[in-house]
Amino acid sequence: MSKTPLLSFLLVTSLALIAPATGQAQAAAKAIRCGKIYLGNGQVMTNVYLVIKDGKVNRLARTQPRGMELLDASDKVVIPGIVAADTDMSGHADGKYNVTPDFVALEGFDYLKSYQRALSGGVTTIYLSPGRRRFVSGQGSVVKLHGKDIVARTLKESACLRITLGAEANAGPLLFEPTPHPTSDDPLLPARKQFPSARISQLNELRRVFRQAQAKDAVVKGSGAAEDRYSVVALKSVLKGKLRLRIAAKEAPDIRNAVRFARELGVGLVLESPYEVEKALAIHKGAPLNAVFRLAVRPGAKNAGGENRRATGPQNRPENAILAARAGTRIAIAPGSDADMSDYLLVASVAIRMGLTPVQALSAITLDAARILGVDNRVGSLEPGKDADFLLLSGEPFAVGTMVEDTYVSGERAYHRENTSDMLVVKAGRIITLEGRTIENGAIVAAGGKIRGISNDPTIPYGARVISLGKGSVIVPGFVDAYCHAGLSGDGTTIPTGKASHRLTEVIRHDDPVLKHLAEAGLTSVFVSGRDSGLVSGRVAAIKTGAADHQSMVLKDIAGIRFVHDSLTPNAIKGLEAQIDKAKKYIEKWQKYEKDLADWKAGKKKTKVEKKAPTAAPKPISETDYISGSWKFEVEGMRFPIGFIATLKLTADNKIGGTVQMVFGGNPMGTALEITSGQYNKDQTFEFKFSGGVGRGGGGSETSFTGRVEGDSLVGKVSLGGRREMTGDFTATRTSGAAGTRTVDSGSSVRRSKKPTDGSPQKPDIDDNLEPMRALLQKQIPAIITTSKAPAITEIVKSFESRKLPYILQGANDAIDTPEILGGNKPGFLFPPDILYRKGKKITNKAAKISERGHPVGLVSGDTEGARYLPLHAALAVRYGMEPTEALRAISLYPARLFKLDHRIGSLKRGKDADFVVFSGNPLEMTSQVQLVVVNGKVVVDNRKNGGPK
C-alpha cells in the first residue's frame, strides 16, 4: 500500500510478464456461446461469444472464435456473478473491546468450508463483516467463494473500516482484566465500562479515536489500557483516504451523524442498513451516498419480512432500499439471511415488485455492489479484463422459474445444477379438452405423468421442459381404441383366441413395435383382447402405447370381458348368464376375505390360524403330459352322429381343463363349453365333464367323459346328461400338438395364494377364469357383447339392465333401424370400421345414427397394426355425417367412459393422465400431421425436427 506508484507499476508489469509463462497449462481460452448476456454495466447482447482466458474475460465476439473449447449456452441467459455486499460468513466475529480497528474479517473466514449453497444461488463474491455489535468493529474483507487457495480467493483483505452508530454500539461489555501479580504499580482494578454508551458520546468518541491515530506520536500498535492497544494502521489508512468508511446506522440521527463524520474526515462512506435513509436524505440533499441493504425478505419462512409489531424503532423493510435508490443513492442489496443466498435472484426480484427497476436490481447485486465494496476493477460486470465470474441462468434473471444452472468463478465451474424436474409444458394454438371447453393459445402443464393444469399463460417452474408449437397446432386427448389386438400377435402371424383366463398384460411387451406405431398415429391407449371365439371371448386389457416400462404400460389389467351372443334359441341368454353367475361363489369368498382383512387391519378380529396340515404342493403324476392338446372325439353306439372337438389342458395338480364343443354330423354346433371339472389319475385314466345344452332336456344337464390314455389316443365312454341318458364309446385322436413334457405352471387357471404368516386372513386362490366375471359382477368393468340380431340384443339388454351390470354392445346392427329393441335404454356401442351400409342409393352411417340418439359411441379398429388408422375411421364417420366432436369423443372420451377409465384417460383435465397428441391442424383432417405425442407426461413422438411424421 505504501509503495510508490512506480514500484507497483513495475510489480504489475513483471507479474503480467510472468503470468503467461507459468499458467499456460490452465490458461486455455474458452468461448461461451451466450443466447443472451447481461454484461452488468447496463449492456445487453444476444447471440455473442464470451471469450475467457486466464480466468478473465478476454473479449466478446460476434462470430465463433477458433481454436478453443466451446461451451454452448445458446439457450441460456448469462449474467455476472452476484456480489453479496453484506454477509455474516466470517464466522464468529466481535471481540470484547469496543474499538478494534485491527480486527480483519478475513481472519475468521473458513475458506475450505463448502459454499455450494451460496454458489447455487449465483453468489461468487462476498463481503465479510468483521462484526456487528462493536463501535469500531474492524476491517471488512471481500473474498470469492471459489478458488484454489485463500490468496487466490481474496479480492481485498481490507476493504473498509466498519463502524457502528446507534444502539448496537452502546452495548459494549464490561472489561475485567486481572493482572496475575498485582502490585501497587499494577493494581487489580475493578471492571470498567467502555465508551460510548449513549448517542451523545458516539461522534465525540469517534473523533477522539481518529485524533489519537492522527497524532504524530501515535504508536502503531496503540498504547494505554488493554482496550486501547489496537493497531492504528487502519485508522491512518482511512485518514489518508485509502480505506473507506462503512458505517452501520439505522436511525435517521445516526445516519446524519455518519454522513457528517465522513464529511469531516473527507473520506468515502458506505452506509450499512440505513433503515431511515429517506428521512436523512431529506436533510442531506444531493449528498452522494452509497448504501448496502439486507432485504428483510425470507422466502419459505413464516413472517417472511420479519415484522415485529412491538418494535418502536425503525424497521428493516425492503421499501427502504427502493426509497434510497429513488433518491439517487447507489445501493447494493443482499438477502436478510445468509441462508437465503440460494434464492438471491428471487429476493432481488421482490425489490422489483416494490418499485426497483430490473436494471437497478441487477446492478444492485452485481456492479453497484462491487463498486460499493471497491472491487469493481475485478468483478461486478463482464467487461474485458475483469474476472470471468458469470452465471448461466435458465431464463430471464428475475423470473420465478429461473435458476442458476452453472456458476463460474474465474473461468472455472464452481457449481452445477442437476435438473431433476420431469415437468413438461406444451403450448399450442388450441386445446380441445373434450371437457366442454376449448382453449385458444393455451398450455398444458404435466408432471409426474399427470396433467397438472391447463391454462393460457402459466408461470413456468424451474426445470420444466417447454415445447411451444405453432399457432395452428391443436392439442387433443390421446386416442383410445376400444377393441384391437395390438401387442398380442408378437410375430404378426396369428391372433390368439380370447380366453377369460388369459393374463394378457403378462405377455404384452411395452416395447412392442406395433404399440410404437400406434403411438405415432396418436393412439395413446388401446384395449387389447384376443379374437372373439364363442360365448366367452376373453378378457380385455387396457394398455398404454408409448410407455417407458411394463408397469406404466398397464392401464388396467382386466378392463373388460367380451362375450359373443347371437343365438336365436329361446333362453339362449341363460348360457351367458350361467357363465357370469359362476363367479358368484367366487366373489363371496373374496368379499369375505376383504371383510376379514379390513377387520384384521382394524384389529377387531383375530382370525384363527387354522391348524390344517399344509396342503401339499400339487405334484404331477407323470412327467409326460398325455392329455394337453386338441382332440377330435369320434363316438360310436349312439343314435345320432355325434362327435366332439376338445381342447384339453392338464394342470400341475392333475386337473383337466379346457373346452369341448359338440359336433353333429361333422358340423360343430353352438359354442365351445368350458370343462367344469376333470381329473387325471395315476393309472392313466381320466374323467371330465362340462355342463350346457348338449344332452336332451336342455340347459343344466351334464356331459361326462371317462376314459384312459392308449398310446397317442384316448378311449372311453361318454355320457350325455339330461332326462334320458345316452352313452357311447369314444376314441379321440390328436389334431394338434403331441404328448409333451409337463411343466409345473402348465396354465392352471387357479393360482394358489400363500398362507400369510402375520395372522392376516388368507387370500382366496385366484381363479383366472373367474377374475373377469368377478370384476364384472362388482361393476368394475363392462361386458362387451358382440351381437347383431334383434332377439339376442333384446335379451342382452334385459338381462344386463335387470342385473344392473355395465355392458357395451358391439355391432348390434338390428338396433340401428329398430331402436325399440333396446327398450328405451341407452347402452354404449362399439363400431368396427364398417360403419356404412347401403340400401340402394341411401347410405346409412351406423355410428352417426346411434350417436344422434344419445348413445355413447366408440369407434374401434379390431385390428393389430391397422389400429393406427383409427383416426381415419373417425374421419370417415365425420365425412358421412357424424358430429365432429362426437367423432373425436368416439375415439377418446367415450371408450374411456364406457370402460370406466375416464378418471385416467379420454379427455384433458387436471389430474388425468398426461396423454395427448398435438396435430398441426384440425385432428380430423387427414392433412393435419402428428407433431407431438405425450404419454404418461413423457414425449414419445416428436416430429418437429423432422418437419413431419416419418
Partner: protein, 423 residues
C-alpha cells in the same frame, strides 16, 4: 496405592545398575531407523546403546536380558501431552512465564500407565485452552521427583488459537500479545545500544548493561529472538492460514499442534514446511452442509497422502482407546497409512520435533537405551509390554506390575520371562 507403586519402582530400579554392561537378546529387533533384525543381540553400556546386530557376541561380564522369544523396539515418544498435571491451563490466557515444572506430578497414574504401554519419553506442556500458556518440559515416566524424571526443561512455549469466544478476536489477541513483546524487545535493544554508546563515550560508570529481561515476558522474548520453539495449537483449518502467516511474520521456530478439524489443510501444511504434531483424535467426523452426509476423516492418512511428516499423540486423560499407542497407530493404518510411517509417528518423528532425534526414537548406536520388550508385534492388540528399559535400566516388568496383578490376579501373569541372570 501410590506409595506402593513408588516402592515397586524403587525395587525394580535396583535390579540392574547403570554402569553394568547389559545384553539384550532379541528374538526380533525393530530398530525403526533401519532394518528389522531376527535373533539379534543389543549391548548397552552406561545407559547407551553400544552396539547391536545378529553377529554381536555377548561379553562374559554382561547381564543378559533374554528376550529371544519377544520383540524389542525403542520406547514411544509422545510429542505433546497435557496430562500428568492437575489441570492443563491457568484461567488467565496470557501467562507465558508459567512452566509445567511446577505442575508435573511424578506420582500421577498417567506416568505409570505410560510406562505400562511402552512410552519412554513424554513432552508435557500446558493445555490448549490458552493464548500464551507457559513452557513445557520433556520427562521420562519414571522417577520420584520432577528432577529425576526430567529429560529436558524449557522445551518451548505453548501458543494456542483455540478461541473461547470469537475466532477473529483470538487471532487478534495473539497478534497484539506478540506485538507487545516485540515492541518490548525493540525498546530493550535500544536501551542496550544506548548503554553501549554511552560506555564508549565514557558517559557511564556501569561496567555492564544491567537491565534484566522481564521474567514475565522472557519465554516470548526467547521465541521472538529465535532461541526457543513454540508449540502452536491450531484447532481447525479456519485458523491455520492465520497461524502460518504469524509464524512467517515473526520468523518463529514452531511446531504446529493440529486439532482434528485441520484435516482439510493437508496441502497448505505441505507447503508451509513446519513440523506437525497431531492431537489425539485420530478419526474425525464432519457433516457436509450441502448434502447432510457425514464423512469420517483420518487427519493422519490425509497428511501421509500430502507427504507431510507428523507425530501422533495419545490422549492421556481419556479412558478411550485413544490412550494406547498401538490403537493410535493401528487406526492410522486402517485409514491407509503404511506401517513404517505409523511407527515413526510415535518414535523418531516426535523425537525430531523435540530436538531429541540423537537421543531417542530409534535403535542406533550411541542413542539412549530406551527399549521396550513386547510379547508380540507392537501393533497387535494381544501384545503386552513385558519390560521397559530407560537409560539401560529395567524400570518396568509386567510380572511385577502391582496394578496388573491386582486387576488380573497373579495366576494370569506369566512368570517373568526376562529374568536377568549372570552367565
Amino acid at each position: 496405592m501410590k506409595s506402593k507403586i513408588l516402592f515397586a519402582c524403587a525395587v525394580l530400579s535396583g535390579l540392574v545398575s547403570a554402569q553394568d554392561v547389559v545384553a539384550v537378546k532379541a528374538g526380533r529387533l525393530i530398530t525403526v531407523s533401519g532394518k528389522e533384525l531376527q535373533n539379534a543381540v543389543l549391548l548397552i553400556e552406561n545407559g547407551k546403546i553400544q552396539s547391536f546386530g545378529t553377529d554381536v557376541k555377548v561379553p562374559w561380564e554382561a547381564k543378559v536380558i533374554d528376550a529371544s522369544k519377544s520383540v524389542v523396539m525403542p520406547t514411544y515418544v509422545v510429542a505433546h501431552t497435557s496430562s500428568g498435571m492437575s489441570s492443563g491451563n491457568e484461567n488467565m490466557a496470557n501467562v507465558p512465564y508459567l512452566t509445567v515444572q511446577d505442575a508435573v506430578d511424578p506420582s500421577s497414574g498417567f506416568f505409570e500407565e505410560a510406562l505400562r504401554n511402552g512410552i519412554g519419553t513424554l513432552h508435557v506442556i500446558p493445555g490448549n485452552r490458552t493464548l500464551l500458556g507457559g513452557t513445557g518440559m520433556v520427562v521420562k515416566p519414571y522417577g520420584k521427583t520432577v528432577e529425576e524424571m526430567a529429560v529436558r526443561a524449557h522445551t518451548g512455549l505453548k501458543m494456542s488459537l483455540l478461541a473461547t469466544g470469537s475466532r477473529m478476536a483470538q487471532i487478534q489477541k495473539m497478534r497484539r500479545a506478540l506485538k507487545d513483546v516485540q515492541e518490548y524487545v525493540e525498546d530493550y535493544e535500544r536501551r542496550k545500544s544506548e548503554f553501549a554508546a554511552d560506555k564508549t563515550a565514557g558517559a557511564t560508570k556501569e561496567k555492564a548493561f544491567k537491565d534484566k529481561v522481564d521474567d514475565k515476558k522472557k519465554p516470548v522474548v526467547d521465541l521472538l529472538q529465535g532461541k526457543a520453539t513454540a508449540w502452536f495449537y491450531v484447532p481447525s483449518t479456519a485458523e491455520l492460514h492465520e497461524a502460518v502467516r504469524l509464524v512467517k511474520k515473526y520468523k518463529m521456530k514452531v511446531v504446529l499442534v493440529l486439532g482434528p478439524r485441520c484435516h482439510k489443510s493437508a496441502a497448505d501444511l505441505a507447503a508451509a514446511k513446519i513440523p506437525v504434531v497431531l492431537d489425539s483424535v485420530m478419526e474425525y467426523e464432519e457433516t457436509d452442509p450441502d448434502t447432510d452426509e457425514t464423512k469420517k476423516y483420518c487427519p493422519a492418512a490425509l497428511l501421509t497422502k500430502a507427504k507431510v511428516a507428523y507425530a501422533i499423540s495419545i490422549d492421556g486423560g481419556s479412558s478411550e482407546m485413544t490412550r494406547y499407542p498401538w490403537w493410535q497407530m493401528a487406526t492410522a493404518m486402517r485409514h491407509g497409512v503404511d506401517r513404517q510411517t505409523a511407527l515413526e509417528a510415535l518414535t523418531i518423528v516426535p523425537a525430531k520435533a523435540l530436538g531429541l532425534e540423537k537421543e531417542v526414537g530409534s535403535i542406533e548406536v550411541g542413542k539412549t537405551a530406551n527399549l521396550q520388550i513386547l510379547t508380540g508385534d507392537p501393533l497387535k492388540a494381544t501384545s503386552w509390554v513385558e519390560t521397559v528399559l530407560l537409560d539401560g535400566q529395567v524400570v518396568y516388568e509386567r510380572g511385577k506390575d502391582q496394578r496388573l496383578q491386582h486387576l488380573f490376579g497373579k495366576t494370569k501373569t506369566k512368570p517373568a520371562a526376562k529374568k536377568s541372570t549372570n552367565r
